[in-house]
């Protein structure tokens, strides 16, 4: 391997790693706040990319219908679980968030899609369609199990994953799509050709990570989410509504997933089930970060991306296997050195 190839692989690895970092950060956040290992995080990535791809072709995507289906399920779930203490405030929230919002987005998408208003509108619309799915999924599948063990929540997460894969096939079909790069510019750096898309991925990821750090470090809402992960009972005792915290963390996860999808769309052909592999590689990074440390997770995600690039050069047939093998020494190391935590709730 000469320097040019190495630099090319490094660029490739950093770009993929940056996307994995966003997905992995979402996984760590969701786990920290709700103890859910959110297996279906990758589905947000795939659905966002497919939504943008449809909009670019002037076709109204099926995403709003999926959102409406989730909204109806969330509304039914809420009514069933809170039947005895159903207040007008809750009914209004269900009507606005679960029904009116998806219908409004459905009408907006149907109206805007044929106009082909450009990349910015497509991206904003995709983010608006994907982000509310997070809290809806939390309310349908995880809120009723909020006090269960991590293992039960993991099984529920797999259930949601398989359901979303099935729904993805129904709503988006089996065909794959790619999207237009955020920037078609490119420039040379020595022997290396750097694409505008690569730069865009790095800038967007860096900006999001800085915003993420500011949100959790400086705002009381961010600190409240951290408090939920630091001590769930303590958080409840000071009156932080853990359900709202859970929904908020899922909304951020869906947002990060949507942005990842927009970034990854131009880099590969995305199918309805492509998100699983992306999520799984991000999971490797999240595990290396101990499902706790955000900086370590970002570094690990970049490492996973680079390792994947190297493996695809050396042994492309085995690159997925080799990437997932990275998790074994980390688990062995953690099982020896990490302290054992008994579940307190």
């Amino acid at each position: 391997m000469d320097t040019t190839i190495f630099l090319f692989l490094l660029q490739d690895g950093v770009i993929n790693g940056a996307v994995y970092a966003l997905v992995a950060i979402a996984l760590v956040l969701v786990f920290a706040v709700t103890r859910v290992i959110f297996v279906p995080q990758g589905e947000f990535v795939a659905f966002a990319a497919l939504t943008v791809a449809a909009l670019e072709h002037g076709i109204a995507p099926s995403t709003p219908w999926l959102l409406l289906a989730l909204g109806i399920l969330a509304a039914i779930s809420d009514i069933v679980w809170h039947f005895r203490d159903l207040t007008w405030k809750r009914i209004l929230r269900i009507a606005v968030f679960d029904l009116a919002l998806p219908v409004a987005l459905l009408l907006l998408t149907q109206a805007l899609a044929p106009m082909k208003l450009g990349q910015v509108v497509n991206i904003l619309l995709a983010i608006a369609l994907i982000t509310p799915m997070g809290p809806m999924i939390y309310r349908i599948a995880f809120e009723p199990l909020a006090h269960s063990t991590v293992l039960v929540l993991l099984m529920a997460a797999f259930g949601v994953h398989f359901s979303l894969i099935g729904l993805g096939l129904v709503f988006f079909g089996p065909e794959g799509s790619g999207t237009t790069p955020l920037s078609s510019a490119s420039f040379s750096l020595g022997d290396l050709v750097v694409t505008g898309q690569s730069v865009a991925v790095l800038i967007v990821t860096a900006v999001l990570l800085v915003l993420f750090a500011l949100f959790f470090g400086r705002t009381l809402l961010g600190k409240a989410l951290r408090a939920c992960s630091s001590n769930r009972i303590g958080a409840r005792l000071v009156g932080i509504p853990t359900s709202v915290a859970g929904q908020f963390s899922f909304a951020i996860a869906a947002l990060l997933g949507a942005v990842s999808g927009i970034l990854v769309g131009p880099l590969m052909t995305v199918f309805y089930d492509s998100g699983f592999l992306i999520g799984l590689k991000a999971f490797v990074a999240a595990i290396i970060g101990g499902l706790v440390s955000y900086p370590l997770t970002v570094i690990a995600a970049l490492g996973v991306g680079f390792a994947e690039a190297l493996f695809s050069f050396w042994a492309s047939n085995f690159k997925e296997v080799l990437v997932f093998t990275l998790i074994i020494p980390v688990l062995a190391w953690r099982s020896i050195y990490a302290p054992y935590h008994e579940e307190s709730e």
Partner: protein, 241 residues
């Protein structure tokens, strides 16, 4: 006669099929410091957890004349009920100041900042250590932080579970001195303690809990006259904590 601030009637709490609190009835009037004393395993912590909504219970709990038995924990906090648990349950990886600010998360920013200054005035040690991580504090400081965090919510009723547990006698004296000051400032307090001598010295009214049931109640002076209770809980020593 005005209704008590907290009125608990025939409360039963069970872990699965095993009932550990049986038909407990207690009252806390506005501005009073009421204590529940009893030996380890008597069901005191279970009682407090049920009052706070951490555990399900049968019976009736009325707070400020409204039934709250089926109300969620978060809603109880909003209504002015606060618990300082035995294990403190602090946010160990966050600074003292953030722990306190989160205690007042349901309050407006202005109210929160004002209460923070009041808590710092009450606990000057916390002000000195405002940027220190909660997990690095000493046992006494953690207890003060747990109390300060609860006070940030401006509770109508502050419930404390064994605040003296694991603390040096001098620190226990400080903590009980602060409790007396809090009571004097108008905060109603329900104190659950194994350290019966210390609790009775500051309380207006006391309940004795044995094997999950209230067996005796009365003023601290009346409790102190019961020979069996004196032998069981107060010993024959002096008046010190």
């Amino acid at each position: 006669m005005t209704a008590p601030l907290l009125d608990v009637r025939d409360l039963c709490v069970a872990y699965g099929r095993a009932e550990v609190v049986h038909n407990v009835s207690i009252k806390v009037t506005e501005g009073a410091l009421v204590t529940v004393i009893g030996a380890n395993g008597a069901g005191k912590t279970t009682l407090l957890n049920a009052l706070m909504g951490l555990l399900n219970a049968r019976g009736t709990i009325a707070f400020r004349d409204k039934p709250i038995t089926t109300v969620s924990l978060e809603a109880r906090v909003q209504q002015g009920l606060c618990l300082v648990p035995e294990r403190r349950e602090l946010f160990a990886d966050m600074p003292v100041e953030d722990n306190l600010l989160l205690g007042g998360i349901r309050r407006s920013r202005a109210e929160r900042n004002q209460t923070l200054e009041q808590v710092f005035a009450q606990f000057p040690r916390l002000k000195e250590r405002r940027q220190q991580l909660a997990g690095t504090l000493s046992g006494g400081e953690r207890q003060m932080l747990a109390m300060g965090r609860a006070l940030m919510a401006r509770p109508r009723l502050l419930m404390l579970d064994e605040p003296s547990l694991g603390l040096a006698p001098r620190i226990v004296r400080d903590i009980f001195q602060i409790l007396t000051e809090l009571r004097a400032s108008g905060v109603s307090i329900l104190l659950v303690e194994q350290n019966a001598r210390a609790a009775l010295q500051v309380a207006d009214y006391a309940y004795v809990m044995e094997l999950g049931a209230i067996t005796t109640q009365g003023s601290p002076a009346e409790i102190a006259q019961d020979a069996r209770l004196v032998e069981s809980y107060l010993g024959l020593g002096g008046n010190d904590y």
